[in-house]
Symmetry: C2
Subunit: 219 residues, 2 copies
């Protein structure tokens, strides 16, 4: 399966999420920055391979097989985003761009290794669900903002919902990274501050931060 095909299938999947009628060749063409003619062409080829259902002038629909393909690609994309986010100081925008390329050159084996390394996360740093190797998606999000976390419990950071560079600089300076483990030592309810410990350091965060740092209970 070529990169062109993978991107085509992914675009149908993504466009279809928001609106079933958003998967006509023209819509997909726009998403991929190709001509409608090229999209119709590809659609007919993929129909012959039983990856999509194609009927003239109708929205494109993924077959079971096509859907599984899309989920595999989405999985790899989100695993890469999660890994790069954890390891490197890169903007979410940069990380997305890199993952967009790497996702197509990733064996199932490597995807498994990345997932394992990250503790088989169910959500990526954006909060988007990561399909498992079978293509199953967990839709129930058990994470919560740090402000809602309980005193004395251990948590794993699951998202940092911000695009602000200063916020990320602060986070990386304090090991507040996706996948890292923290202990919540105190919730100062009146002042809306949270005291946590991470790597034997204790820091106190105000609600600006604890509302955009999402965590999962560490069981």
């Amino acid at each position: 399966m070529s990169v062109a095909i993978e991107n085509f299938v992914k675009a149908i999947y993504k466009n279809g999420k928001s609106n079933t009628n958003n998967t006509k060749p023209g819509n997909i063409a726009k998403a991929l920055n190709i001509s409608s003619a090229a999209a119709t062409d590809m659609a007919q080829k993929l129909a012959a391979k039983d990856i999509i259902v194609y009927q003239k002038y109708q929205p494109l629909k993924l077959t079971e097989k096509g859907n599984k393909m899309a989920l595999t690609i989405v999985r790899k994309h989100r695993l890469w985003e999660s890994l790069l986010f954890k390891l490197f100081d890169l903007s979410l925008h940069d990380i997305h761009r890199e993952a967009e390329l790497l996702e197509h050159q990733t064996s199932d084996l490597l995807a498994e290794k990345i997932s394992e390394y990250l503790g088989n996360p169910k959500f990526d740093p954006h909060g988007d669900p990561i399909p498992n190797a079978n293509g199953d998606i967990t839709t129930v999000d058990t994470s919560m903002p740090l402000s809602k976390a309980s005193e004395g419990k251990s948590y794993i950071i699951s998202r940092l919902l911000s695009t602000d560079k200063e916020f990320f600089d602060f986070c990386s300076a304090n090991a507040l990274k996706y996948g890292n483990t923290i202990q919540v030592s105190k919730q100062f309810t009146s002042s809306k501050m949270t005291q946590i410990s991470i790597n034997n350091n204790t820091i106190v965060l105000n609600s600006d931060f604890t509302n955009i740092i999402y965590v999962n209970e560490n069981n």
Copy 2:
């Protein structure tokens, strides 16, 4: 620059290393598993782009530009190998295969981040030098087998020269991973054993192991 071009340039670089006469279209074709005709064709195209010097029936030679391209690809390949080796339990063979794909989808920025994360290593786990971002290669290898390391000093693991699965299993069970730091606490010269500490654990290794584990002084 397409994947086909990058692989072509890399093949000329690699074949040329061993023998300047080993870069005729036929040699490159074999390395890339394509026909000689395809190689000649590509050679003519790359000559037009000033990436190689092409003269009929002569070995292909990289221009300055082509050489820099090759070094950039080699750099990315070896950085990926180093990273994957550090992070995951994968055979060197698997790691090579993955790196072979990822190297072509890696921005200069990402390469920098990987390098930085690894501490800007000059050699990969195979012991092959990693060119820096300018394409400069360090040829002086300062690493040594662990058996030659000095008592009381700190070292960084730079290579694990083996293809034996059991050896790697032992290593990963004991945090003996590429890039990790160890302390040499004792060299038992008569019995050829070495006592090291890593992550607050102390282990004693015999010379079968200390001769294939290479380290660099940790300054």
